[in-house]
């Protein structure tokens, strides 16, 4: 099952991705991150951006992945709507597709500052699906 969702945090927003593989869970978590900013249904997957990360632990790889997306969103003024992630050992390679943010059309709600280590979780659930989550400071 693929699921991208938010969970409550007192001041900020938790993002959670669920999927049949670790990669799918990372992709869904990224979709949940974009949904913090805007309705992802309105994001055109026009321009690809390649992202590479390396971290000693799976949870930190998730945080690095989300933080790289936040960085690319900030410096390129883009919003992403589609992701393809591959993970090999400690390394992640991904392509994120999106478009330049349009303040009229996307009506961005809030700017993510960083992915935190709070409520950080990367685990395979009893049903076999993977869950990837953390809180985003906004």
């Amino acid at each position: 099952m693929l699921r991208a969702e938010h969970f409550a945090h007192a001041a900020d927003v938790g993002v959670r991705g669920i999927g049949p593989t670790r990669e799918a869970a990372f992709e869904q978590a990224a979709l949940a991150l974009s949904a913090v900013v805007t309705d992802v249904a309105g994001v055109a997957a026009l321009e690809p951006v390649e992202i590479d990360c390396d971290a000693p632990r799976g949870e930190l790889l998730l945080v690095d992945w989300l933080n790289r997306l936040i960085y690319e969103m900030a410096v390129r003024h883009m919003i992403f709507g589609r992701f393809a992630v591959t993970i090999a050992g400690t390394r992640l390679h991904a392509v994120a597709w999106g478009e330049r943010i349009d303040r009229e059309r996307h009506a961005p709600a809030v700017e993510p500052k960083g992915a935190t280590l709070t409520a950080l979780k990367l685990e395979q659930r009893p049903d076999g699906d993977w869950l990837a989550q953390c809180v985003i400071d906004v």
Partner: protein, 476 residues
């Protein structure tokens, strides 16, 4: 919050005794209602802070405390380098030196009324706010480093504001010890076009009316007169600070075991103050403080330009500028012994009392102004550092109302248009590029600021001076 584990030592002070891995007790300020409303996570987090190496006296939570990252928002803790103390990227947070400054307009509410709509439109047009907004100042590498060293002093030197402003900013406008070389290329890139921008979320520029004065002598010394308007600017170090927080949090989390530090929560990532990593973080964090001070200085300049168009005589003098998310090296006397400490304030305000050696001359006799930000539909407050002995919580006070509802919950309760219309009905103009952002920041999503202010006053953290009501709100 379950208060059964706490000892209530006064109407507004609760103690958690030192136990287990805690090196010091924890102290939470607030009345019974505020504590009942606080998340249990605040207690868990402040207890974890009390476990960190080199912590001095106690770990403190302010009356507006809520669930944060590692530290609760509203958390205060001081560390002694000589006792193996740490500096924590998690204890400062992502929005380094996020803070508030207040400008005095001398304009009466009645004078504003016929011009209110046009002033709101002009402020909204000229102050970049919201996701994707960019400033008009692009810094090359040399200018970026000069800004990171010089903070508001750099900005004044570039023509943004006046030399007199610097006397009314913490550290006279520039944190010493900033190390631009400790700031990554990514952090500088992220800041490239964000100078002079408000950002989003709970950041704002508000025109507010002084509606009540609690301490007339202090209010007069601050230049606050009932019925007049002030401008409050709430923002921080923008992308540069966010990136520094991100990078050092990761590095400290990975490095902590190598220092023999057991982290009760990964988000408390820290390093010994006397380590290469600790020193490098302090250098980068101080550069981010300067970035925030420069940013608020530039926005001040833009605000003055807009006001000058409508009110030629209004000089918009700076009352003061305070930072909320910092680690500062300060002298304190815990247990009567004078020590140089590294005081972390995460969503808390420094609140030096009258006579403090590090106060600017303008506030030597009064104590420093402390600004407590409300939501866009509710009051804000100006307080003053309280002269109580011994000083409370390393001379710290609260910083805002604190959320009582998550963004998620707020979206289920309100629509942006509805919030804007309701506030318009009360004479408050809200300008924002994001309807959803307005709904997430709806006044009802925040706690009652009056009870936070009363608790801070009663606990001796700061004293009430004035109450401000919003008139125009520019939201990011």
């Amino acid at each position: 919050m379950d208060t059964s584990l706490l000892a209530r030592v006064s109407e507004t002070e609760w103690h958690l005794a030192q136990a287990g891995d805690m090196r010091v007790p924890a102290v939470i300020f607030g009345d019974g209602e505020l504590l009942a409303e606080m998340d249990d996570k605040v207690l868990e987090q402040i207890r974890n802070v009390a476990c960190l190496p080199g912590i001095v006296e106690a770990a403190y939570a302010m009356p507006d405390a809520h669930w944060g990252y590692g530290f609760p928002i509203g958390g205060v803790a001081a560390f002694d380098a000589a006792a193996g103390g740490v500096v924590s990227a998690g204890g400062v947070g992502f929005d380094i030196s996020c803070g508030v400054r207040v400008l005095l307009t001398g304009i009466g509410r009645g004078e504003l009324e016929p011009l209110k709509l046009r002033l709101a439109d002009s402020l909204y047009r000229d102050i970049p706010a919201g996701v994707g907004s960019t400033g008009k100042i692009a810094l090359d590498a040399a200018a970026m480093d000069a800004m990171l060293r010089g903070g508001a002093r750099w900005a004044v030197g570039e023509g943004y504001g006046r030399a007199a402003d610097l006397e009314r900013i913490e550290e006279q406008g520039a944190a010493a010890g900033a190390e631009p070389d400790a700031v990554s290329a990514q952090a500088k890139t992220r800041q490239h076009d964000e100078m002079g921008t408000l950002g989003s979320g709970n950041h704002y520029l508000e025109v507010q009316e002084i509606v009540d004065i609690a301490e007339p002598a202090i209010a007069a010394a601050f230049g606050l007169r009932r019925g007049e308007l002030v401008v409050s600017i709430h923002c921080g170090s923008r992308g540069l600070g966010h990136q520094i927080g991100t990078e050092f949090l990761r590095e400290m989390a990975i490095a902590a075991p190598g220092f023999g530090i057991v982290l009760p929560d990964l988000e408390l990532a820290c390093a010994p103050i006397d380590s290469e990593l600790g020193r490098r973080y302090l250098g980068a964090m101080r550069a981010a403080i300067n970035c925030a001070l420069a940013n608020r200085q530039i926005i001040t300049h833009l605000t003055r330009r807009v006001f000058a168009h409508f009110f030629e005589a209004a000089s918009l003098d700076l009352l003061f500028d305070v930072s909320h998310n910092t680690c500062k090296e300060e002298w304190h006397e815990p247990g009567g012994k004078r020590r140089r400490l590294f005081v972390h304030r995460k969503g808390a305000t420094r609140a030096f009392a009258a006579g403090h050696a590090e106060l600017p001359p303008a506030f030597a006799a009064t104590g420093q102004p402390v600004f407590i930000g409300g939501s866009m539909g509710t009051a804000s407050a100006i307080m003053v550092g309280a002269s109580v002995r011994p000083e409370r919580a390393f001379a710290s006070a609260c910083h805002g109302a604190g959320r009582r509802m998550s963004r998620h919950q707020a979206l289920r309760h309100w629509h942006g248009r509805q919030v804007v219309d309701e506030l318009a009905g009360r004479g408050i103009i809200v300008k924002s590029p994001s309807s959803r952002g307005v709904a997430e920041e709806a006044p009802g999503a925040y706690k009652d600021i009056a009870s936070v202010v009363e608790a801070a006053h009663a606990a001796g953290l700061a004293r009430k001076v004035a109450t401000l009501a919003p008139v125009i709100c520019i939201k990011g």
